[in-house]
Symmetry: D2
Subunit: 99 residues, 4 copies
């Protein structure tokens, strides 16, 4: 099952600067061979359900290992059975209607 995910990881107990933890998560996702796009409030991910969620789990483990005692993550998950749709397709579909 293919999935498009938006991942926003928030480490707690490490102060206000969280970009080092977010960067580490992006590294985990890329090392897993997943397509990603990082925006100002999260990272879009595209891939096979099991591979994506194995990487998400690894993100939590890695952020804890870097010293965050608490992690609060928000994820959006999109799946569809009617047709194949990539992240680029979704953005293009909106942009075409804005011309």
């Amino acid at each position: 099952m293919n999935v498009i995910v938006d991942l926003c990881v928030v480490p707690l107990g490490v102060g206000v600067s969280v970009s080092a933890y977010v960067a580490e998560c992006v590294r985990v996702l890329r090392d897993a061979g997943l397509a990603t796009h990082t925006h100002a409030y999260g990272t879009n991910i595209e891939g096979d359900w099991d591979q994506v969620f194995a990487a998400v789990k690894q993100c939590h483990e890695r952020v804890h290992a870097l010293g965050a005692p608490r992690v609060s993550t928000t994820i959006k998950i999109g799946t569809r059975t009617d047709r194949m749709q990539t992240m680029d397709d979704k953005v293009r579909s909106v942009e075409e209607k804005l011309i």
Copy 2:
């Protein structure tokens, strides 16, 4: 790794009434032996990471099998390494401060 999750599954392409799909997800979660609490905008779940996410995947599969061609889910995930905390602990901790 223990996890507290909040799950909100939204089926698309099946009209405005979604409670049958939500109920099916609650059934999947309970059948998986997970502790749940359903509120007006989702379901709290508590359990082992792998068990919780296996059940979440099954929710998507089941909602598609019931006829929804598209599913958009929002999940919040909390993990902590400093101490054990249950769903009840979290609510109690807030309520104690409201007295």
Copy 3:
């Protein structure tokens, strides 16, 4: 326009214990006369759009005033024009299908 909201406020830069900040938000919401239900990963709110969002803004202001330099909040917002539906209606609708 009536709205059902789920609010999850996460203060950053104040350590791992956030219940005092969450309790303050619940106080703000109740003082605003809004119906609320606090669960393990947020608070359901029901009311008029403008009143609810005025209270949400006040939550951010109050959490900053309590000392949090950064706040990251997740909100779900449900509106419908086909019929009136309360938070209790939503939960009951799911529970009826689980019997």
Copy 4:
């Protein structure tokens, strides 16, 4: 109070194709003079709290006016009092750590 928001509007009861509704929301945001970046699972918005939330309300009104009887939206809201930070700053801060 300045705010960085991520907005994901999901219309229900209008089938599986939602890009026309999302495009209409982006139009509302741009007409309000707000900075936006649309990604595969939502739109980042930057601006003054009151202006951003007036536009978000208008998005719900417009999506209903286009025929959606039900709308379920997820929003992330970030505010900080320690320093000014733009959407571009946030992305750059992560990217610098990935080099």
